[in-house]
Symmetry: C2
Subunit: 140 residues, 2 copies
Amino acid sequence: MTAELWLTQLHENGYRLTDARRAVVETVEKSTRALTPVEVYDLARRKYRALGLVTVYRTLEKLEELHLIQRVHQPQGCQAFISAGQGHQHLLLCKNCGQVAFFDGDDLDALTRAIARKSGYQITEHWLQLFGLCADCRTQ
Amino acid sequence: MTAELWLTQLHENGYRLTDARRAVVETVEKSTRALTPVEVYDLARRKYRALGLVTVYRTLEKLEELHLIQRVHQPQGCQAFISAGQGHQHLLLCKNCGQVAFFDGDDLDALTRAIARKSGYQITEHWLQLFGLCADCRTQ
DNA sequence: CTGGTATTGAAAATCATTTTCAATTAGTAT
DNA sequence: ATACTAATTGAAAATGATTTTCAATACCAG
């Protein structure tokens, strides 16, 4: 996924392409760690000085709506966003540097079925997130 | 876990027992769905009218610190708390009524090891949360 | 009972997010 | 190209959640 593709997605969904949106998209798309709206604002203003924080919020909203980014939940807070994975993927977060990796192939079907049987719940969704140290932080 | 035990825990950790804290503890301990600070405030004020919202925040903070409650992350927000499960347990949330159930016995070791190998991360923690419909909501 | 100190609630401060609004601008139709 | 028009913009104000400040109160050890 490149920034160009994200912009195309926006355009195809009826949104106009502006310098403000380009700056936000390029910033978020290339980040390998989750960014808060203010962090996006600070970084994106290097590309487009006139950018307003409100526009960052509004652009993030649209990107989330198009499933191009996703919110990251962490003990310290839940305001940060990262580019979304492809298909059904989960997050792996480095507690030290904040680096985000994706993984798929989680097969929780057996677990889910067992829990459903015991609890009487009909399970429709799951959230799984792993925390740890990335390869770089591990060796330092 | 009863409200009395929570109060004992607070006392044993050097905190004083007050009417305000008793009202908050009794409210949160007996709830089967996650409550936001304002919800706790509204409910607890039925027991202790003079309660202040600030005290609710301060008491929730202490209960979380003692691992008697835990924050619940949901798509609509992450400000709600629920009584914590025993040991290593995960949450199962009803999307309709908000009812919370706990489950344990999640064996994610095999999955975790596989992800660790592929990603190079050293995995130290995981968050797993299931969503669905509770038995009651399912049949309505 | 008493005294020292943790705790209280109200008000103000802070921080994150949303709304309002007039000016600008992207992109379509000419 | 040019003009038009609705979407988009940033600033300021409003809102909502949470934290800090502070003087008054009340818990509880002695």
